[in-house]
Symmetry: C2
Subunit: 119 residues, 2 copies
Amino acid sequence: MALDNHTADPLVSSADVNGTTVYGKDGNQVGEIDHLMIDKQSGKVSYAVMSFGGFLGLGEDHYSVPWGKLNYDTSKGGFVTDITQEQLTGAPERPNDWYNNRDWEKRTHDYYAAPYYWI
Amino acid sequence: MALDNHTADPLVSSADVNGTTVYGKDGNQVGEIDHLMIDKQSGKVSYAVMSFGGFLGLGEDHYSVPWGKLNYDTSKGGFVTDITQEQLTGAPERPNDWYNNRDWEKRTHDYYAAPYYWI
């Protein structure tokens, strides 16, 4: 879904972002945001946990994508990413403690060439 | 409530932060987070929209507090703020379009001496 009737607003509620559509570079819908992960200390969004159901047959699995890989497109009312299926399926496997595992975090950010959110 | 059983984790899900307790400097519970407002472009949390029910008789009103006024305390599993009742009741009144009103945002951040999140 799009972000309700506030798509042009610069701020979005944490209660509304879940379910927001994510588009690929070609403009097609590739998935949606399940929830965001927020770094408590800095208040920066660190990951979008996305479901890619329907994205080239990837099923309903969730993937943690560095926030820097998403750009908000006000004209679409959703986020755009340049992540490809190849990138997604080749990304470092997510351990159970991924949200508290700096080694996995580093490898994942390096993999996507995304800036570390913790610096 | 505290942040479930993940209070020591550095990251928190946007789905879990709502309802997190906020403590005053004296350690007493002063309210809780209703939801966060996130700047879509930068991915930074801009405001905590808090309810201060029970905080010195302020009722159940919601207040938008600049994120910089909150600090996460891992030992408490919640956020701590040094905002006082006097500050809260004297803050610039929140217009309906507060989340898209840079004039109100500037006055509010200046009032709380909080750094602008948009710079």
